[in-house]
């Protein structure tokens, strides 16, 4: 029997279940790992002000968080406060499970006027607020000033228009460096964030204003897609484009393989660390002649689940976190409140274009099956990058598929 005894012990060891029980005076906050250290500091400060409340921070892995939260919302075993990417807010709010915050926020005296309107948009469904934005960001252009000089371009005057960007990319493409890096691979969102703004600024897009029809086949959209994919077609972007996501583009930039690409401000530090020789320039996204710039608003919101066990204290914590200086401390990029933008850490001149892009930024359409729609859009971009059929033809078909998805 000795054998069996051992077996039984080994088998029984891992049989405990993950369990989170919250009681009055305790608030459970799911904070993604990248910000969890700062969350701990804020929680400590909050506990000092509110000695009767304990904040339990659970560090969550961003990868799979959406799935995990979906399970939690369905089963009712939820945290009291959770950070969610702004793109998930509308789907979660539509399927139910998030608390409407309008009254609570008014009661707590949070000044919504101070928030970036586009950031509030991401948290609003049918006129009701389901989350409170705390982090906001938009892409800008990152470029290699040294390469600009070598190509005879002014390193302090980044192209303003699409045409200028094209000719700069041509000038910058030499042998094994490429003028422009575009995303065409990896996770779908990498390509969405880098290409969709071009469609928007040209008056096109994936969906119309009412989000009930695809406008992907319209000339404005086709033209913008062709502008984007044209960098590869004409040899101005590296041949690896179809496997390049944001990460890969940064790698290529660090390795001096590309001169220009779009990304968020989080890339700046790692470029400076890994290749200090690069003189980094940052600039606004170029726009079509006579038209406005555009960008997708990225960022994160705080949400309180409907099934939270301790809503009252969760809301207190929410109000605390929404204070400008706390929000400015917690965010990885920019704060969603404009008054927090004056904090020291956001004053780096290199960040200026990223901050300015925020005023052009819009949310992604708040549709429940937006992920599925972006997959169709992404597939068509890849198809065009492969160059085996006309862009207009491919987009026309994608547009029909998307219409089918919307009608469901």
């Amino acid at each position: 029997m000795r054998h069996f005894g051992k077996l039984a012990t080994t088998a029984a060891l891992p049989l405990w279940l993950w369990h989170s029980a919250a009681i009055a005076g305790e608030v459970t906050w799911w904070a993604p790992e990248f910000g969890a250290d700062r969350a701990e500091e804020l929680a400590a400060a909050f506990e000092e002000q509110n000695p009767d409340i304990t904040v339990n921070i659970e560090r969550v892995v961003p990868n799979g968080l959406q799935n995990r939260l979906l399970v939690a919302l369905r089963s009712g075993n939820t945290p009291d406060l959770v950070d969610i990417a702004n793109g998930w807010t509308a789907p979660f709010a539509t399927t139910g499970g998030l608390m409407a915050l309008d009254e609570a926020v008014a009661g707590l005296g949070v000044e919504l006027d101070d928030f970036l309107p586009a950031a509030l948009d991401t948290a609003t469904v049918d006129g009701q607020l389901y989350a409170l934005p705390f982090r906001a960001e938009a892409h800008a252009m990152i470029y290699n000033k040294g390469m600009f000089e070598a190509a005879g371009l002014d390193p302090d005057a980044f192209p303003e228009t699409w045409e200028e960007l094209r000719s700069a990319a041509e000038a910058l493409t030499t042998g094994d460096t490429f003028g422009m890096g575009i995303a065409g691979g990896g996770e779908v969102s990498n390509t969405i964030f880098r290409s969709l703004p071009f469609l928007w600024m040209n008056g096109g897009g994936v969906l119309n204003e009412a989000n009930d029809q695809s406008i992907l086949a319209q000339p404005e959209s086709v033209e913008a897609v062709e502008f984007y994919t044209g960098f590869l077609d004409d040899g101005l972007a590296p041949p690896s484009t179809l496997e390049n996501d944001g990460n890969a583009l940064r790698r290529l930039f660090i390795a001096n393989k590309i001169a220009v690409y779009q990304s968020g401000q989080f890339d700046l530090r790692s470029i400076a660390e890994e290749n200090p020789d690069i003189d980094i320039g940052t600039a606004l996204l170029p726009h079509p002649e006579g038209k406005e710039r555009s960008a997708i608003l990225g960022g994160w919101n705080f949400a309180v689940p409907d099934a939270a066990r301790n809503k009252e204290d969760a809301l207190k914590l929410l109000a605390f976190l929404a204070e400008p200086e706390n929000m400015g401390f917690y965010t990885d990029t920019f704060p969603a409140r404009q008054s927090a933008m004056s904090m020291e850490r956001f004053q780096d001149p290199q960040l200026e274009p990223f901050r300015d892009m925020l005023q052009y930024a819009r949310r992604q359409p708040p549709l429940e099956n937006w992920v599925q729609i972006t997959q169709v859009y992404f597939d068509s971009i890849q198809e065009i990058l492969l160059g085996q059929a006309e862009a207009a033809e491919i987009l026309d078909e994608a547009s029909q598929q998307i219409d089918g998805l919307i009608q469901k």
């Binding site: 691979g185 041949p239 179809l242 496997e243 068509s380 198809e383």
Partner: protein, 284 residues
């Protein structure tokens, strides 16, 4: 003892069967149920199947699945058998070779996939560098992003991962062949290739047959390599059925449509298996 055994036998077998029933047969029945319901749990007949079949993607997926699994099996069997025969030879260092060759099969699929993805990388990959150095290609090839090379590249990785298993099983089969069969052939003056084609391979047939079935099952199941290397891209050129099920369920959260795909998947594999087993059983 015989009388008692009628009750004792089932007692021994019961726990395992119970666990399998709970984890396999219940979900199996549940899949069918999910596939004819909407997210609210209302019966919708074949609506989910229609939605899935209407997508042009489904056709692509089916074709890719057959290409991927089919070609993988062919090369796994050929390479595996050849290596198995080689391993059966007596030479210095044979046991070291036997140990080494099994490693690709033992290591995690995700490790194999990421390592190969790195080797296949267009800009920084060693494969392009070597091929260019050897004058095989002029410019870097986007192995995983070119529609013409992505499937072959994935098949190469899958073959590399699984041929050791075939080799080991073939080796075991070879060692079970009685020596006098070869001696008889040799007395008849058979040359080496005659020996392989007329003696060795026919003797191996049962082993190869069951291997083919196992490889087909594993191939149909395996999304690790494709998930980690291409995610089904470029433009769905390498998406296979299990990957689409995964995407539909865990990226789009459309569980009912995913269930409809699963039922189709089960039917296809079921039919293939039955076909295979009948054909194989007839020949025996």
């Amino acid at each position: 003892m015989r009388i008692q055994s009628r009750f004792v036998g089932p007692l021994f077998v019961f726990p395992a069967l119970f666990v399998l029933a709970l984890l396999v047969f219940y979900p199996l029945v549940y899949t069918v149920l999910l596939s004819v319901e909407d997210p609210m749990g209302n019966f919708v007949g074949f609506e989910n199947f229609r939605t899935v079949l209407d997508q042009r993607l489904t056709g692509t997926t089916l074709r890719n699945t057959f290409v991927y699994v089919g070609f993988s099996i062919v090369f796994q069997i050929i390479l595996g058998t050849a290596v198995g025969i080689l391993l059966n030879a007596e030479f210095w260092g044979r046991s070291a070779l036997r140990a080494m060759i099994v490693v690709p099969w033992v290591i995690p699929g995700i490790v194999a996939a990421t390592t190969w993805a790195w080797m296949f990388h267009t800009e920084f990959g060693i494969i392009n560098y070597m091929a260019q150095g050897a004058g095989l290609i002029d410019a870097p090839v986007g192995w995983l992003t070119n529609p013409d090379t992505v499937m072959p590249a994935l098949v190469v990785v899958n073959v590399w991962k699984m041929f050791p298993f075939v080799a080991i099983m073939v080796l075991a089969g070879l060692q079970a062949i009685p020596k006098d069969v070869y001696e008889a052939a040799r007395i008849d003056g058979a040359r080496l290739h005659h020996e392989i084609f007329y003696v060795t391979l026919p003797q191996l047939r049962p082993v190869l047959a069951s291997l083919t079935l196992l490889l087909a099952i594993w191939g149909l199941n395996a999304i690790t390599i494709i998930y980690a290397m291409t995610r089904g891209g470029p433009a769905n050129r390498s998406i296979i059925l299990p990957m689409q099920i995964f995407r539909q369920a865990f990226e789009f959260f459309q569980f009912n449509e995913a269930a409809a795909l699963s039922v189709m998947f089960l039917l296809i594999t079921g039919v293939l298996m039955v076909l295979y087993i009948t054909v194989f059983a007839e020949k025996e």
